[in-house]
């Protein structure tokens, strides 16, 4: 039967409308208005019929309307409509409606065959007499038919069915009646045909239905997979806790593929065994974060996937010789499915699904599992990246915190120290100015921090000019300083206070970061030093005054100016005099020490001829030897072309005299003392050599200490304070030279005291 439901309704209506419109135009032209009344009635009936069939595409309605119109046109009692369905003629409608189900097949009849051959009108006034209709006799008897008019439903050469007009009596239809019925039938034929024309062949329809069903099923599967993948992706992106995410994902995969066990094995860079990262099912899962295994990355099912980088499906692991090497005694596995975890070309590991029964997985699942694996691989990769970044960030954060703590601690220390601290950056801009600096320099931090040092030339006072110039030099010339450079100065501020400045450049690796200046208010120390020096000067003066009297009067007595002295009186007065001399040496030494300590030794540096100084010292010593009647040889060994040295005449003479005097005292009678000078590079080395008592190794380390005097009786018998060599050492230092002693400590082999002085260079 017609199945309008399978025909696109819009198309059918459109085509039917087109056909009907053409027919109406045709009919209105061949049958013009103004003819006879009967003709007008026929035309009216056709018009009505056209209106009716034009307003419907419903087959039943069409059949009903057609049969009603034909019954009216032929004035007959019963009209039957029958159409071919799959080559079978079916009775589809009768007008008026009969009290039974329609749509039943009619037996074939020779008449139908004949009408197929040449479609035309068939009419008989006695159906029972027609041979070509014998097979339908039952149908005619039932409908009590005497006269029958058969109108074929034809379009072109195709016969789609027939219209039977029944009559109980024998009657003859007029030509007009037949003509009208034929027009109506043809119109109906067009209307009826328009739908089937567009219908697909029913076979095709069935194919389509089947394909649509299959496709729908596929779509449903695809949709399920897509939904599953979506859930997996959602799970994978739901958290940054990889363990949690992997467990949830494996659960989804197990559900989706109906597997009992899923496992993720990773390959870690540089390692040749798998890392057991996650597992869900009947095998014990690894601890959070995973654990190492002893399973070689090229062994077993997982190894196969690593080598081939593709998914694999195994119906039964126990039947497949390739997978017998299971590792870790995991013999429960039967069905297996495995896919590589790939990110781009990088293989992160494998994912394996198992079931304890064989043949549980289907080949079409691999694709989806691989898709899930790709997402998992991306997630693992992301998690590792995230973890790497987080570790890096934490490390950096930790370093930053440590540095911040260090910085604030350093800053707190810098702020808290009693010394003033001023820090400049590489552009000589002030970056730190602590409380003490504020106090010492009398400036507010707000005035200076962030400003360039040059803008404060006036504020810091005129005495700071050299210091500020040094900072500027260091800041603007990389060659003006090195790591060891320092600068120290004592300045007097405009208000009379004394400030010691220490300046050093700050380097990080090779980069110059700026400078640090330390200010110390030394006004008090300067005052104390002044008082101390004054005290020492006063004391020495006070000591010298009585000494002057004692020494003077004793000498007058010894001169005999106050009368003759007995030999014993002279001896005793000599003892008084030598002890007075000893006191004098002590006072002079104390004065020297206090002045050296106070840094108040004014050296007036000039070119000196050592030859002359040494000669004078030797002469003095020989004079002393003469007066003391000590027999001693002093050897003078200084080349006449020795260059001049740079030094303070009085002090260099003091150094020479001290050493020669020591040699004289500690060399027994008839000994030898040499004074020798030689040029070594840009300095002159002076050696004072004796063959006296010598100095032991232990004593050598102490001879330059203050107040240290040896244990030798010869030393103790000599007037001395133990300050002489200490003063000499400091004087040599002040000249930029070095002093040392050499002796093997053997009496008679003596000692050699050596010192150096820089050669004078004329600027």
């Amino acid at each position: 039967m017609f199945d309008l439901g399978t025909i696109p309704l819009g198309v059918a209506l459109f085509l039917a409308g087109l056909v009907l419109f053409a027919l109406i135009l045709f009919l209105r032209r061949v049958i013009p208005p103004g003819e006879s009344n009967r003709r007008s009635q026929r035309l009216a009936q056709i018009n009505r019929f056209l209106d009716q069939i034009g307003s419907t595409l419903d087959l039943d309605h069409l059949l009903e309307v057609t049969s009603q119109e034909i019954a009216e046109a032929l004035s007959c009692r019963l009209v039957s409509m029958m159409l071919y369905r799959d080559a079978q003629l079916m009775l589809l409608h009768q007008e008026p409606k009969q009290g039974r189900d329609l749509s039943w097949p009619l037996p074939d009849a020779p008449l139908f065959e004949r009408l197929h051959q040449s479609p035309g009108i068939f009419s008989t006034m006695d159906v029972s007499a027609e041979d070509s209709l014998t097979t339908l006799q039952g149908f005619f008897e039932e409908s009590n038919t005497q006269t029958l008019l058969v109108l074929p439903i034809v379009t072109g050469k195709d016969v789609h069915g027939f219209v039977f007009a029944h009559s109980e009596q024998a009657r003859r239809f007029s030509v007009d009646e037949i003509e009208l019925a034929r027009i109506l039938t043809n119109l109906a034929a067009v209307a009826l045909q328009s739908a089937p024309l567009l219908a697909y062949p029913s076979q095709l329809t069935e194919d389509l239905e089947q394909r649509v069903e299959e496709r729908a099923e596929q779509l449903e599967q695809e949709s399920q997979r897509a939904r599953a993948l979506l859930r997996i992706m959602r799970e994978l992106s739901s958290s940054l806790d990889l363990d949690h995410v992997l467990n949830r994902t494996l659960q989804l995969l197990n559900d989706l593929t109906d597997s009992e066990q899923s496992t993720i094995l990773l390959i870690r860079p540089g390692e040749d065994t798998f890392y057991y990262r996650a597992s869900l099912g009947y095998i014990d899962p690894p601890p959070v974060g995973g654990r190492a295994t002893e399973l070689d990355i090229y062994d077993g099912l997982a190894g196969w996937i690593v080598i081939h980088r593709e998914g694999v499906l195994v119906e039964d692991l126990q039947e497949d010789s390739r997978w017998l090497h299971l590792g870790e005694g995991l013999t429960d596995h039967r069905s297996a499915m495995g896919v590589p975890l790939l990110v781009g070309a990088e293989l992160l590991g494998v994912m394996l699904l198992f079931h304890r029964q064989p043949s549980r997985f289907k080949p079409d699942q691999i694709e989806m599992v691989q898709a899930a694996a790709n997402q998992i691989a991306v997630s693992i990769n992301n998690a590792e990246l995230f973890s790497l970044i987080r570790e890096q960030a934490e490390r950096l954060g930790s370093m930053l915190r440590t540095q911040q703590v260090e910085t604030s601690r350093s800053r707190a220390i810098l702020e808290a120290v009693a010394d003033g601290v001023l820090v400049t950056d590489a552009d000589s801009r002030i970056t730190l100015f602590n409380d003490s600096a504020q106090r010492i320099l009398g400036l507010k931090r707000e005035q200076v921090v962030g400003e360039s040092l040059e803008s404060f030339a006036g504020l810091f006072g005129g005495a700071t000019q050299t210091w500020m110039n040094t900072i500027a030099d260091w800041s603007f010339s990389s060659t003006a300083h090195d790591k060891g450079s320092t600068y120290a100065e004592q300045i007097t501020l405009d208000d009379g206070r004394f400030v010691a400045i220490h300046l050093a450049p700050v380097h990080l690796n090779e980069e110059f970061l700026g400078t640090v200046s330390i200010f110390r208010d030394i006004t008090h120390q300067v005052e104390v030093d002044r008082l101390k020096t004054e005290f020492v000067a006063t004391v020495s003066h006070e000591l010298r005054t009585p000494m002057t009297s004692i020494k003077g009067y004793v000498e007058i007595l010894l001169m005999g100016a106050a009368g003759e002295l007995s030999e014993q009186q002279s001896q005793f007065l000599d003892v008084v005099l030598s002890n007075t001399e000893r006191l004098n040496v002590l006072v002079n030494d104390l004065l020297d020490v206090s002045r050296i300590d106070a840094g108040k030794y004014d050296l007036s540096m000039q070119p000196l001829r050592l030859q002359e100084l040494a000669e004078a010292v030797v002469d003095e010593q020989m004079y002393q030897a003469g007066t003391e009647e000590k027999s001693l040889t002093i050897i003078y060994d200084i080349p006449s072309d020795l260059p001049r040295v740079r030094g303070d005449e009085a002090r260099v003479r003091q150094i020479l005299a001290n050493l020669v005097n020591n040699a004289y005292h500690y060399t027994p009678a008839d000994g030898n003392v040499s004074i020798r000078a030689r040029l070594h590079g840009d300095e002159v080395q002076v050696d004072v050599i004796d063959d006296g008592i010598g100095i032991t190794q232990e004593e050598q380390e102490r001879v330059f200490e203050r107040f240290y005097r040896g244990e030798d009786p010869m030393v103790l018998a000599t007037a001395g304070t133990g300050l002489g060599l200490s003063i000499v050492q400091q004087l040599v230092d002040l000249h930029g030279g070095r002093i040392w002693v050499e002796s093997n400590g053997v009496p008679g082999e003596g000692s050699t005291f050596s010192f150096t002085l820089p050669v004078f260079i004329d600027d």
């Binding site: 002057t548 004692i550 003077g552 000498e555 007058i556 002045r595």
Partner: protein, 127 residues
Amino acid sequence: MAKILIAEDEFDIRNLITFTLRFAGHEIIATSNGAEAVEKTMQMAVEGELPELILLDVRMPRMTGYEACKRIKADERLEHIPIAFLSAKGQESEVREGFEAGAVDYIVKPFAPDQLTSKIEEILKQT
């Protein structure tokens, strides 16, 4: 033999110098501080009996030797008289100050009497 004016506040030392120099044959006019020395010198100038050498201690009450030296050197009648200091203060700065005040010599105490005598002879010879 010369006429020498000395200024020394310490009695014992003043006597020692006086004794030593008189023993060497000089005429000694002894004063006990700078102010007295300046006063005596001026008085001697008025009398036309100027000393040929003045020996001044440095640290003295009423007027220091430096100050006395400056005052004498400031008087054009007296400025030609050589002045030497005789002091227990022997630091460079002190010696320098003495020379700056106009002294021809600076003898540091304690001194040996014969050294003092020969030093005085030296100064007198130079002038």
